[in-house]
Amino acid sequence: MTEIRLIPLGAHPRDIALDTLCARLERVIPVRLQLQHIPIDIDFALDPSRKQYHSTEILAALLEQNSTTAQKLLGITPYDLFVPVLTFVFGQAQLNNRAGVFSTFRLHNEFYGLPPARDILADRCFKEALHELGHTFGLRHCTGLPCVMNSSTYVEDIDLKPADFCLHCHEHLHSVC
């Protein structure tokens, strides 16, 4: 069974129970989650002028982590992520490769001037984690049925999509996991 290591980046994300997130992921995809308790430093990826972290550089650094035998690495950070050209990204992953990362920065209701909602935040994190892991297992954005692999450019897109894979993506995932 594929082992996945969930790694906090920079700091622990606030208001999110990472062990619960791991348990939810294990219920949807046939993988085993290991949780790393100590966050790793990502200051090297900070762009001071944008006050954001370069997600591609973080992915490169994650791959250099030799402290684990896990086949896949999923980073979670409370900081805002970007790639050059785009104003921000919710997350980024290497297609059909080992590492993925996502940010909780824009998943909080407070970011949009709304009152905090921990359940909504937990669901958004869960969907983002599934989405980025899906990419690491070779899944591209799904354009057909409602699926967690649908592309999201607004937080509302994340809320609208289901916290599961469509039949087609599900079949692919189970064939490679």
Binding site: T56, P84, L86, R140, T143
Partner: protein, 453 residues
């Protein structure tokens, strides 16, 4: 085009910053698009030679030729590609210049993910509509082709019945008939009446392509598969996906190609030349030939197993000389068609000219008749096609005689022609021939004339 596969859209990123190229490439790869990158104008032009690019995301500020100059250069040879300008140094002036020079849209770095998605979605929608437009135009052409099948003779009515019967099935069809009898039109009619009609029909004239080129023509090839294979190219099998493959002059196919074709028909998949990944074959096969394939099998020129594979349902097209009743109809149809396309007022064929058309043997069949009428329309000045407008060699074969025909031959041909014209109505034909029905029956028996089944 019903479902749109993003991998069929190729996007090229032109930007001198590696991180920009890489991040955009990864972003669009997640959506399933086929990606190409270039770090400067020269490389972009080179990539355009090697790939079929649909959308270009173009940075303005680059060393050497800048983005706007590159856009001008591209527009000199390619009007279709969609160019989206992305620049870090936006000014109203550059935006206006870019849009005036034919850019599809313009945005500034860094761009919001939703804005970028929307830009590309709009571009893809335009490509989808362009491709749909082309497909619809082709469909209209095909419909016009189908409209061109003219025939009220019993022989042609039988052909139409066969087309109606076989079209909705997915069976392989073999069309037999002399050159010029309209085999391709019948193939298109089968296609247009099948469930595959919204996908293309791809005709391949096996006799026109040298054996050495046929393999890559049918199977396609990967880049570098052989000397001169500079680009990946789809073959006819792939182009016919979802539709119909029409192999004309199948009798001329070489033995090696016959083996290759048989394998594709049996496995329902194939490999591009130089390719490792199998590609699914999803087409209906229609073949046509003017040769006697059974003879070719006996002589070892055509594989028996392939013959049985393609000889599932046969439609035989009668030569024009066996359906003279259709000649006036066809002649008027072609007259109307060519007079309209040449914008000439020619709308009649004189009785003498029509008799000449009826008496001719038409070795080139309907194609020859069409050419004769087209020529007549070109040279006609009176508005009525007269014998003078018809090709000279026709005047050598008057109504029921020929230079080397015996009296019996002339009688036989005339009786046969009259019977066909009157749909084998014995009483009417006997009346017209001014003989009684018994005499006509005796003549039919004497000359071994048979009513077509």
């Amino acid at each position: 085009m019903t479902a749109f596969d993003p991998s069929e859209v190729t996007i090229m990123i032109v930007d001198d910053e590696q991180s920009v190229r890489e991040s955009l490439e990864a972003w669009f790869e997640d959506d399933g698009y086929t990606m190409v990158t270039a770090e400067n104008a020269a490389e972009a032009l080179k990539q355009m030679q090697e790939h079929q690019i649909d959308i270009i995301l173009l940075d303005i500020k680059m060393p050497g030729m800048d983005g706007l100059a590159l856009q001008d250069r591209i527009r000199e040879f390619n009007q279709e590609v969609i160019i989206i300008i992305i620049t870090a140094f936006a000014t109203v002036d550059t935006a206006v210049r870019a849009l005036k020079a034919g850019a599809f849209d313009y945005t500034t770095k860094p761009v919001d993910p939703d804005e970028l998605s929307l830009l590309v979605r709009n571009a893809v929608e335009r490509i989808r509509l362009q491709r749909e437009n082309v497909a619809l135009r082709e469909s209209i052409d095909h419909l016009q082709f189908v409209d061109n099948i003219v025939g009220e003779s019993p022989q042609m009515q039988k052909v139409f019945e066969l087309v109606k019967t076989v079209a909705p099935t997915d069976s392989t069809v073999l069309i037999l008939g002399e050159s010029g009898t309209g085999k391709e039109l019948i193939a298109r009619a089968v296609h247009m009446n099948s469930k595959r009609k919204y996908f293309p029909i791809i005709p391949v004239n096996c006799g026109a392509i040298p054996e050495s080129l046929l393999e890559s023509e049918l199977f396609g090839h990967e880049k570098g598969a052989f000397t001169g294979a500079q680009y990946r190219r789809k073959g006819k099998f792939e182009m016919a996906r979802g539709g119909t493959l029409f192999l004309d002059e199948i009798g001329t196919l070489g033995l090696k190609s016959q083996v290759d074709l048989l394998r594709v028909l049996e496995d329902r998949e194939f490999h591009r030349v130089g390719g490792e990944r199998p590609v699914k074959a999803d087409f209906r096969l229609i073949c046509a030939t003017n040769l006697n394939l059974e003879d070719a099998v006996k002589k070892g020129l055509f594989r028996e197993d392939l013959y049985y594979r393609i000889n599932v349902f046969t439609i035989t097209l009668p030569p024009l000389r066996e359906r003279t009743a259709d000649i006036p109809l066809l002649a008027k149809h072609f007259l109307h068609q060519h007079a309209t396309s040449m914008n000439k007022h020619v709308d009649e064929i004189t009785e003498e000219a029509m008799n000449m058309l009826l008496s001719y043997e038409w070795p080139g069949n309907v194609r020859e008749l069409e050419n004769a009428i087209e020529r007549a329309v070109v040279i006609n000045r009176s508005g009525k096609i007269s014998p003078d407008d018809l090709p000279l060699q026709m005047s050598g074969t008057p109504v029921t005689s020929g230079k080397n025909l015996s009296l019996a031959d002339v009688e036989r041909r005339h009786i046969q022609s009259m019977l066909e014209e009157n749909n084998w109505n014995i009483s009417r034909t006997a009346d017209l021939l001014n003989i009684d029905r018994v005499t006509l029956y005796n003549k039919i028996e004497k000359y071994g004339l048979k009513r077509p089944e």
